[in-house]
Each structure stands twice: as structure tokens, then as C-alpha cells.
Amino acid sequence: MPDKVGIRGAGQRRFIDELPFCRAMNMVLEEVGEGTAVVSMPWDDRLVGDPVTGVAHGGAVSSLLDTCGGVAVLSHPARPSTTATLNFRIDYMRPATPGQTITAHATCFHLTRTVAFVRTLATDEDKANPVATATGAFVVQT
């Protein structure tokens, strides 16, 4: 649930750094466009959800997707001032390969006065096979 903290003013990288949870997860804002965003999360042993296989917890992937979706909303040309997640549905296609950076791509493809609609995709280093996809509705204030 990113908010209005300086997405356009203080520099893109700082935006993510100012959200404590994103900082704790070492998320990096790679790209931001007009309603699109790319956020990556380097591998960390703390992300593991299955100690037997060493695979990342689903919640780690959904945190990345939620963050990336929020950034895409704030970068929409209509320039909403704040946003918060209203609903988020995540589909897990396959386990992310342990040790690899996970990257999320998000597009805010429609925005009304109150709601933004978002699609997101997560991949590891095998870009051809998605790890997870998510669709979300975010509340916005314009």
C-alpha cells in the first residue's frame, strides 16, 4: 500500500526506500512509466517459505506484487495523490527458483475517480515462465 511519498518529487528510488516494509525486503524500483512500474526484490534467505525446498513464501511474492501495483497506480497520468489496496487476487503458477531475484511488472490499465485497476506479473530469471500473476483494485484519491 504505497502512498504519496514523493513518487515524482524526491526521486523514484527514494519512494520505495521510504516505505519501511519495502526497505526491509530490499525492494528496488527499477522503472516507472505512465501507469506502469517494474520493482525487483533480490533473493534473501529470510524469504523462504518452505524449508525443505528453499522456495520463497507466497506472501513474499504477493508483497512485491502489491508494492509494484501501487507504484503503477501512482504513476498513472491522472496523477492520483494516494492509493491503498482494496482487493488483490494472486495466482501462483510455479515456485520461484531459490537464489534468484524476483521481478514484478505492473500496469494500471484503468483509473476512475475512486478506483484503479491493476494487473501484475512476477518472474524470476526465467522470464518466459511467470512465477505469479495478480489483479487488483486500488482505492485512489485524485
Binding site: 529470510r46 502489491d66 482487493n87
Partner: protein, 170 residues
Amino acid sequence: MNRKRPEPVQVVKQRRDAALRALVAGIPFVQFLGIAFERHGDELTAVLKFDDMQVGNPELPALHGGVTAAFLETAALVELGWQNLWHEIESGRLDAESLNPGTLPRMPKTIDITVDYLRSGLPRDAYARARVNRSGRRYASVMVEAWQDNRTRPMAQATGHFLMPSPAAE
């Protein structure tokens, strides 16, 4: 009087708590988020202890939506794993004291989860309880609800589908 005498309460509690510990303690991301489980009989309550790093909106401040989603997913998965484990533990087929992540039955895997954010997550502890609505051989459907101060004012709810571990893989 052929009826078997009930086991001492301490023995029962120790066995159940050891099984729950084995299920939860070995998951690094659950430890990182600060999620613990309280048990009353077979009823589990997930507890997310507030920490400053969970904040996603520093102005309000509010919990990061990803923390809430991860908390709900964890509560659902552990409830499902716990229910699968319960009969094995109670019947004595599994020895709770010797359980560890390596010897536990495999955990279910999340297929999908849909999270509804009902209220902004406040900077304080949160609780969650999950209900398994269908538990079949192939998949399970689980509902989960999280709240903070008032049980009747949930902060978030979720429904998820989970792939059950295949018996052949064990």
C-alpha cells in the same frame, strides 16, 4: 472398567505444542514477519506482532498490504497443515517430539488467494483465524479473517485454494 485412562493433560499439551512448533518454527519468512500461533485445543489463532518494518504507509501509518496478505496466507496454510497433522498426532502415527521440517508431511501449496482489504491495518498486533471449507484429496478451499482491536471489525479477509501434497511424493 476396561476403558483406557485419559492421558495426563501435560502430556497431551506437550505433544500438540511440539507438533505446532515443528509446523511453524522452521519457516524463515514466518519468523521474519513475526507471526506466532496460539492454540486452544485444535483451534489456532495466528498472531502478527506489530513491528515498525511492517509499515507500508508511513503517513497514517498503516500496515503494508503485502504484510496483511502474507499474514492471511500463512494463517490459512498453517491451519490446513495443522488439520492434516492433527489426526496423525492424536492417533500416535507420528511422533510429535521427533518432528522437524525435514520429517513433517509436506505442506500444501497455494494455488491462488484473494484478499479483501476492509480497513487500513493499524500499527498494532493483528490476529487471524482460518476455516477450511473444503479439504479434498487434490485441493482445499480455505477462508481466513484478520482483525485487530475488535473481532467484529475485521481488517481483511481472504479465500484461497491450496494444492494438497500428493501421497506418492512422501
